[in-house]
């Protein structure tokens, strides 16, 4: 409720400020011969900004401090003798009771006298502080409005100031994304270091046995955390996926780009891109229910024992998932190869396939390799398909026909159920996540470097 009041108030102020700035600006340009630097809409926008920014700042300050102040006030409402008899848990319960009374939610059990008074006081305090905040925000907003409106004169460079404000707004938005990423990386690194205080990094990175013991089985032995079985599983499934996706995706791109008629391309390209929009969990149960049993039966008929859930199943389905990714990236890159190069080859009497093999693909190769690397990093980070279809068998072996496990699957396993983050059982997830992150980061850096070099060549 109060959020709507604040938002409504801000909107009204904003509209009013814009109108006031704009109308004053119009009044400026009425006398003949006066050259106004900025147009009316910029004066309006500038006044609106001067109104909005102080008001929002007040709201921000209030949002930051009000929980602490409310907490302090609530505590102050509890009589000293009661307060002395409470431990931390008791205090929390007591404060919750007072808050429930204040919000009109009500409490169970016997109502103590000081509680009722405290509830009423708290409700009054909250209303009062909200109104003060509202008045302060509105007051500062109006102050800003008046100040900015008085600044309006023909020489005011409102346009430049508004443009600068816009660029600061954009910087703030991108800072959010960057800071969030940095925060995630920082937490990954610190938590991974906490994990390494339990387990020797050498045992983690070069260990060949993955056998974590859950803390509920008793203290003492935490199990073994060898990365290699998971790493080989991840790499094996990614390799199978790329074996499927690269030829099919690349051929699709070549067909669509060079052979397909425009009308066909208009229909087929969106359909392929729809494949990219299927949720991976759907691919996962497709692998589990259809592809896995099919592979097992097919294996039986030719005398091979293939598990229904195996690296092969997961890899094949993941390959299908990546096809649209590779084909649409490769298609874009093929489009960037200048037409004059193709003409040159045709002009020498090269056939279509000769032109593609000898001229188009070599020219597009760096970009296509970049696309492949981006696809690999997707395959490495993919989770849902492998959770369902890879069999979850973290054992070091080289046979793709048997169940394996991957880094992502192990993170899922370690974090389901047991999430107190005090022992290596759950902290290992951060070490695994960090490993994954570093792998995909390196792949992406290499891929972007290659793609960029390719772009420079033809611009």
């Amino acid at each position: 409720m109060s959020t709507f009041i604040v938002a409504g108030l801000l909107l009204v102020l904003l509209g009013l400020a814009y109108q006031l700035g704009w109308s004053k600006s119009r009044a400026l340009s009425t006398p003949q011969g006066v050259r106004v630097h900025s147009r009316g809409q910029y004066h309006g926008a500038l006044v609106a900004l001067w109104t909005l920014v102080p008001a929002v700042l007040v709201l921000g300050v209030w949002a930051f401090f009000s929980p602490g102040v409310t907490h302090w006030y609530t505590v102050s409402q509890i009589p000293a003798d009661v307060l002395a008899s409470l431990d931390q848990v008791g205090l929390n319960q007591q404060m919750q009771r007072i808050r429930d009374l204040a919000s009109g939610f009500g409490v169970t059990g016997e109502l103590r006298t000081f509680e009722e008074a405290a509830g009423q006081n708290l409700a009054r305090f909250q209303l009062l502080s909200f109104l003060i905040m509202l008045a302060a925000a509105a007051g500062l907003g109006v102050l800003g409005l008046t100040f900015a409106r008085r600044r309006i004169n023909p020489r005011l460079r409102a346009r430049n100031e508004v443009e600068r404000a816009i660029s600061w707004g954009l910087i703030a938005c991108s800072a959010v994304a960057i800071l969030t990423t940095m925060g995630i990386v920082a937490s990954l690194v610190t938590e991974a270091f906490r994990f390494f205080t339990y387990i020797n990094p050498l045992d983690f990175f070069f260990g060949t046995v993955w056998a974590p013991k859950f803390s509920s089985t008793g203290a003492g032995d935490a199990g073994q955390y060898g990365l290699l079985p998971l790493l080989t599983g991840t790499l094996m499934i990614s390799a199978i996926a790329m074996l499927v996706a690269v030829p099919v995706g690349l051929m699709t791109a070549i067909y669509l780009n060079q052979y397909a008629h425009a009308n066909l391309r208009k229909v087929v390209k969106p359909i392929i891109e729809i494949l990219a929009g299927i949720p991976t969990i759907v691919y996962g149960f497709f692998a589990l229910v259809t592809v896995g049993p099919f592979l097992r039966d097919f294996g039986n008929t030719i005398g091979l024992s293939i598990s229904a859930t195996s690296a092969l199943t997961a890899g094949l389905v993941m390959g299908v998932m990546i096809i649209p990714f590779i084909s649409s990236l490769s298609d874009d890159i093929l489009n960037q190869v200048p037409r004059t190069l193709r003409d040159g080859a045709y002009g020498l009497g090269a056939t279509q396939s000769e032109t593609i093999r000898n001229v188009l693909l070599p020219a597009a190769l760096p970009g296509i390799v970049g696309a492949f690397l981006l696809a690999v990093s997707r395959a490495i980070g993919e989770t849902m398909i492998v959770v369902l279809a890879a069999g979850n068998a973290p054992i070091l072996r080289g046979n793709p026909l048997e169940p394996v496990s991957t880094i992502t699957v192990s993170i899922v396993n370690q974090l389901t159920g047991d999430t107190d983050f005090t022992g290596p059982q759950s902290l290992v997830a951060f070490a695994l996540g960090l490993t994954l992150f570093i792998m995909t980061l390196c792949l992406n850096i290499v891929a972007l470097y290659i793609v960029r070099r390719f772009r420079e060549q033809y611009e």
Binding site: H261, A262, P338, T340, L341, R342, D343, G344, A345, Y346, G347, L348, G349, A350, T351, E354, N358, V359, P362, A363, Q457
Partner: protein, 286 residues
């Protein structure tokens, strides 16, 4: 019928040229009289989708001479050039009508092999377009795909002689393995000419070959075109009337998809019959 029309026309032209030669006894005109007709186009039309780009072009192109197509931008001269080796086939939605005969053979015959045609009719493009390969591989490319060389020695010979004919060999002989894209613009264009020559064509089409080059590189290419005339039938599209006057023996003026006037270059420039040709040459259109 078309063949017959071509012959009748040719006779008329031969008489024409002979008369011109009598009035203006320039050496190259005298040569031109004996030149047989290599290419004959009759009522060639081109549509790009619903838009008609060429409205019935008929022209005869003599052997071992330079024929220039001039005209303002968008007049269809490049479009017509691209009909001669069927490069318009590679453009989606392009339709070509009429007939073009190369040595009496219809190049739009469904039985004709386009690959073979393009080996006989080479092309040099507006923007130098060397492949992202070494200089050697650029020149060797056509010879390789057409299987012209039996062994490495043959191929070396083809590459060296093509580079020589294109006047590039002396400049690049020490760096044949370096990428062709590292050469200067003028050198790249001569590399593209060498690449076209290496296939052993009879006709070379040039689509504004100097428009991306500086004046010095242009002069070198023009000199080269003049030398190549000894052995090849050359058709050149150019924006520059001076260039047409310098390098060509015959000129055709295109305007808005029509062939307005054609004839011996000196006549076109000194004594144009058509008003539009006159205006273009005087700089009043285009």
């Amino acid at each position: 019928m078309d063949m017959l029309a071509g012959k009748v026309k040719m006779t008329a032209q031969t008489v024409d040229a002979a008369m011109n030669a009598a009035i203006n006894p320039a050496a190259n005109l005298a040569q031109l009289v004996d030149r047989p007709i290599r290419l004959t186009a009759r009522d060639v039309t081109v549509h790009y989708g619903a838009k008609q780009a060429l409205h019935g072009i008929s022209i005869d192109i003599p052997d071992r001479a330079v024929t220039a197509f001039i005209g303002p931008s968008g007049c269809g001269k490049s479009t017509f050039l691209r009909c001669i080796n069927r490069m318009n086939d590679t453009i989606e939605g392009a339709r070509v009508g009429g007939t073009i005969l190369l040595d009496g053979e219809n190049i739009y015959d469904p039985d004709l092999d386009v690959v073979e045609l393009r080996a006989r009719v080479g092309m040099v493009f507006q923007k130098p377009n060397p492949f992202p390969k070494s200089i050697y591989d650029n020149v060797a490319y056509g010879a390789r795909i057409h299987g012209l060389a039996r062994n490495k020695t043959d191929l070396d010979e083809i590459v060296v002689s093509s580079l020589r004919k294109a006047g590039l060999f002396e400049e690049v002989k020490d760096r044949l393995n370096e990428p062709g894209t590292g050469l200067s613009g003028g050198q790249q264009q001569r590399l593209c000419i060498a690449r076209a020559i290496a296939v052993g064509p009879e006709v070379i089409l040039m689509d504004e070959p100097c428009s991306a080059l500086d004046p010095i590189a242009t002069a070198i290419i023009e000199e080269l075109i003049d030398e190549l005339r000894e052995n090849y039938t050359i058709v050149i599209v150019t924006h520059s009337m001076q260039q047409a006057a310098r390098v060509s023996q015959r000129t055709a003026f295109f305007h808005l998809g029509n062939l307005i006037e054609q004839g011996v270059t000196e006549d076109i420039f000194t004594n144009p019959v058509n008003k539009q040709t006159q205006d273009y040459i005087m700089g009043r259109i285009g």
